[in-house]
Symmetry: C2
Subunit: 317 residues, 2 copies
């Protein structure tokens, strides 16, 4: 069923995302070997104990030697650094590996990595959790979610196909775009929303009324991602800053316009604006809440007993 | 078990919130009568067919006559208008009803209603959904959620107790505060977050790259409430404008600070800020994700087959 035919995948860094990919590949019926290298043995050991990977090594040279597919699973800046170190070594190998990364920014990583190695396929799965670590890994994390690949001019078509097949086996759908389009689109769809969540959270933390104590489902959702890994988001902010600030400026302009209507009590403008947003959001419901097949949905529900319903303050009409 | 001893509750307006309250009261084992009045017979008929209420009337005088507890379930401005019309009539009744509302703002509603009637208990359940209508009602909507009551100086203690007992039967916890504190806290914890979600949604809608197509769990959550009812949120914006704009200004100041650090590539400041937000958010996890008892959780899961896991872009550490 799966067209992913590689016999081995090696993860450089084992955490939530790489661990979830490992679980998803296993769940797909893929029979290859899953190994990992990482700077912290504890995570790797946990990965073996949780049956996420088959084995590990603390020796980077040993890890990449003979690996058919290498997946870099690290924060954005560490991913770029690791790629810069490894790609020259891969060039020297007899049978050079296909290698991909999963960082949320592509321009900085590609530049840091150097683009000479034709079997490097920059990638980014649009999925994650506000938790980290291999112990939070979920086989269904990528089900129905988009994976964006940004192959370069010299990237081999076959390498792209291999990485795409791997992600399809994990349940994802593949989109291909340029590095620049990726970073601009993601600045708007993911990076600036994270900074908005942080800004809102800090504004509330400084309020003497401690309004967060009175939060409902709306605040739960609007601040959830402020629980994300600070190092990862520092990296994103440092490496995609121009696009992020441009996206934030567009949101600031919208806030300023809304404040003007609120101050002027412009009933028509507010209702029209809210109505348009509702229509836009509904039009993207399927993308933002991918429809899962029944078996997957059941599996997810079984894991989600601790979560709560999708509540929000004030929907009475 | 429940200390809610009234024999009849009448809803003025039947939608998501009032319908959910009706279902929650039934689920608690409460045996009283549940009736509704509303401007649209179709909603009321649907409420009867779905066994949410026992019966309805289109005659407002008939609805309030003899009702022990009246619950106004309407958008904020309509709630104020309805209270202004009804409270004088209640004063004239032989056995005057306890009456409460559920609007997201209290100052405007209380002022419009007039505060002479001592058995009016202004209230606000911090729960809701981005959907509306009695057909979306859920018995568990209020489980573990806060209900804020803002009794006035002349409000009878017994009336407050009755309304509090009703909400406790529905699974909520009660907080009492002043009208002004409520409107300031909610401007920060709910109203301004809604306007941020609208601002983000509209900024993305105008972007030629259509970044919303590439949204993951982060964007799903940051825009979910932009699907809320435009009339309800127009009312909130019109009636709590000063507090909302003050709250938005505080968020704007945070965004400006973040943009400065991003432009300066201030790694330490960004990581420290994100780390602090993570800590603040985690500290409020229990409030924002109330712990439900097992039976409730199962019931919710059974209703949530169509929903998806709590995903987000990029949590790799």
């Amino acid at each position: 069923m799966s067209s992913f035919r590689a016999k081995s995948v090696v993860f450089l860094g084992l955490g939530l995302i790489s661990g979830s990919l490992a679980l998803a590949l296993r769940a797909s019926g893929w029979q290859g070997s899953l190994r990992a290298w990482g700077p912290r043995e504890a995570s790797l050991l946990r990965g073996v104990k949780l049956s996420v990977i088959d084995g590990y090594t603390l020796d980077l040279e040993e890890a990449i030697d003979g690996a058919e597919v290498i997946v870099v699973g690290a924060p954005p800046m560490a991913s770029g650094d690791l790629l810069a170190e490894i790609l020259p070594k891969l060039t020297a190998l007899e049978s050079p590996s296909v290698i991909t990364d999963m960082a949320s920014i592509k321009g900085w990583v590609v530049e840091r990595a150097g683009s000479e190695y034709p079997r490097f396929v920059p990638g980014h799965p649009i999925a994650g959790l506000e938790h980290s670590g291999v112990e939070s890994a979920q086989a269904t994390l990528f089900a129905g979610r988009e994976v964006i690949l940004t192959p370069l001019e010299n990237t081999e078509r076959e390498a792209v196909e291999t990485v795409a097949a791997m992600w399809r086996a994990a349940g994802s759908r593949i989109t291909t775009m340029s590095v620049d389009d990726h970073d601009a689109a993601l600045a708007a769809s993911s990076h600036s929303p994270h900074l908005l969540a942080y800004a809102l959270t800090n504004a509330l933390a400084d309020d003497p009324l401690d309004p967060m104590r009175h939060g409902g489902g709306a605040l739960r959702d609007m601040t959830r991602i402020a629980g994300s890994d600070p190092v990862m988001w520092r990296d994103v902010a440092l490496t995609n800053g121009a696009a992020i600030n441009a996206a934030l400026s567009r949101v600031e302009a919208e806030i300023a316009e809304l404040k003007g209507w609120v101050a002027d009590r412009d009933s028509d403008a507010l209702e029209r604006y809210f109505g348009r947003c509702k229509e836009v959001r509904r039009r993207h419901d399927r993308i933002l809440n991918p429809v899962l097949d029944d078996a997957l949905a059941q599996e997810i529900l079984a894991q989600e007993v601790a979560s709560d319903p999708s509540e929000e303050q004030g929907g009475e009409s």
